[in-house]
């Protein structure tokens, strides 16, 4: 491996990590409150989960492509890639937030209310702590898939390790493809292991 390649690999890895981190942060910031809100609005659940489900069925390369002509959200570059990645990451976080909170034992919820907890106390002291593991499991799935999907960001000028893969494909250079694919896979494994560990550490209920 040349010094040139190593340097570029380091750069693209950082770029990749930033893409993933920003996308996951935004996805959590949107999906977690949305999921909480949905637990209070049962009729909306079907619609919102349906939307998130549909987003996940759109082939990723196509989704990146669709976004290009869209004003504000779209175009060429990082922000378009992030929009697409966020759309993908929403569903697992949203679904697990919903499942986690709705999964809290009825007797526990009822006694919390009967003890005179306010809605906010119920959420912060009972529902979220008890749902934390399930929610984190959703974040883990979202993170691992985003690390993989983010390689496609390069197709629309989003950068990241996908740059190597697309360049390798174009020049039929397996080494280049591997230079993109191997670090991406390693990051995914590390993220999976780390978040899995955190999941186990969370309140052992």
């Amino acid at each position: 491996m040349t010094a040139e390649l190593a340097r570029e690999m380091a750069e693209l890895t950082v770029e990749h990590l930033v893409l993933v981190a920003v996308s996951i942060a935004v996805a959590i910031a949107v999906a977690l409150p949305a999921g909480i809100l949905l637990t209070r609005r049962a009729p909306l659940q079907r619609w919102v989960l349906g939307f998130a489900n549909v987003m996940q069925t759109v082939p990723s390369l196509a989704l990146f492509g669709f976004l290009i002509p869209i004003p504000l959200l779209g175009g060429i570059g990082k922000h378009t890639a992030i929009v697409a990645l966020v759309l993908y990451a929403l569903l697992p976080v949203l679904r697990n937030t919903l499942t986690g909170i709705l999964g809290v034992d009825r007797a526990v919820r009822e006694s919390a209310i009967a003890m005179g907890m306010t809605g906010r106390q119920l959420l912060w002291e009972v529902e979220l702590p008890l749902a934390a593991r399930t929610i984190l499991a959703g974040v883990r799935v979202a993170t691992v898939t985003t690390i993989g999907t983010a390689t496609i960001a390069a197709a629309i000028g989003g950068g990241g390790l996908g740059v190597f893969i697309f360049r390798g494909l174009a020049s039929v250079d397996t080494t280049l493809i591997l230079a993109g694919a191997v670090p991406a896979a390693l990051i995914a494994l590390l993220a999976d292991g780390g978040l899995g560990w955190a999941e186990k550490k969370l309140s052992p209920v």
Partner: protein
């Protein structure tokens, strides 16, 4: 004197079904009123109307003279202890934290909460040194139920509600907890409303028994009178007492 809890012609419709129909009933300070009835008789519904977990669709439930709809629900509930089947303890709280919950919500100083929680654990027969730091999953069913009772008593509420508190326990533990319930009542003399479908339990703990049938009050009587009361539903329940067991 106004009764502590008063049902005035209360009806409740839940899911298109009339669960309670025109229930009128007063609960006086210091008594243990048992709501007895079969599954679906409306007894749990009536209980949940006292702490505004449910609101009447007609009539009103008054607590300390004020209709539940006029109470601030949070304030009302903190004045009412609530014990349910399976206890409903918070699995992520220790026993001590579970017991200290309402005092903490009420903003007591930490020292006072701790002292109160430990004293109550002692009172319900769970030595704090051994039990305070445990989690609910590390307790037996009977122990969890005791913690549930301690939690309900924590902020010294004037009214206690029990929803089949001993229903899920084995018969031996159940009798133990019934005895303890009576002992506690002698000690603290609180007003309690107690839901059960077990006529023995009703006769044991009640100062008065309200028998509900199909959402209506069938009989309201002290245990001694209840044994002599007339009516199909009373007889059905009293028949449970006569069941003789002949080993094969």
């Amino acid at each position: 004197m106004t009764p502590l809890v008063s049902f005035r012609n209360v009806s409740c419709r839940l899911g298109g079904k009339d669960v309670l129909r025109g229930l009128s009933l007063d609960v006086e300070a210091g008594e243990t009123l048992v709501l007895l009835g079969r599954s679906g008789s409306g007894k749990t519904t009536a209980l949940k109307m006292v702490n505004a977990l449910l609101l009447p669709s007609a009539g009103e439930v008054r607590v300390e003279g004020t209709p539940t709809v006029a109470w601030d629900a949070i304030r009302l509930r903190r004045r009412i202890g609530y014990v349910i089947q399976e206890a409903g303890l918070f699995p992520h709280f220790t026993v001590e934290q579970n017991v200290g919950l309402v005092p903490r919500l009420e903003g007591w100083p930490a020292e006072k909460i701790r002292a109160r929680a430990l004293a109550l654990l002692e009172q319900v027969g769970l030595p704090p040194a051994q039990f305070a730091a445990r989690y609910p999953r590390e307790l037996s069913g009977g122990q969890r139920q005791r913690v549930g009772v301690a939690r309900a008593l924590a902020a010294d509420p004037p009214i206690l509600l029990f929803d089949e508190p001993f229903g899920a326990l084995d018969p031996v533990t159940r009798v133990e907890l019934q005895r303890q319930f009576l002992a506690l009542r002698r000690e603290i003399g609180k007003t309690a409303i107690f839901v059960t479908h077990d006529v023995r339990e009703a006769l044991l703990v009640a100062t008065r028994i309200a028998l509900l049938h199909d959402g209506r009050l069938a009989v309201l009587a002290a245990p001694a009178e209840f044994l002599r009361a007339q009516g199909e539903e009373v007889h059905a329940f009293l028949a449970c007492l006569d069941t003789q067991v002949t080993p094969a």
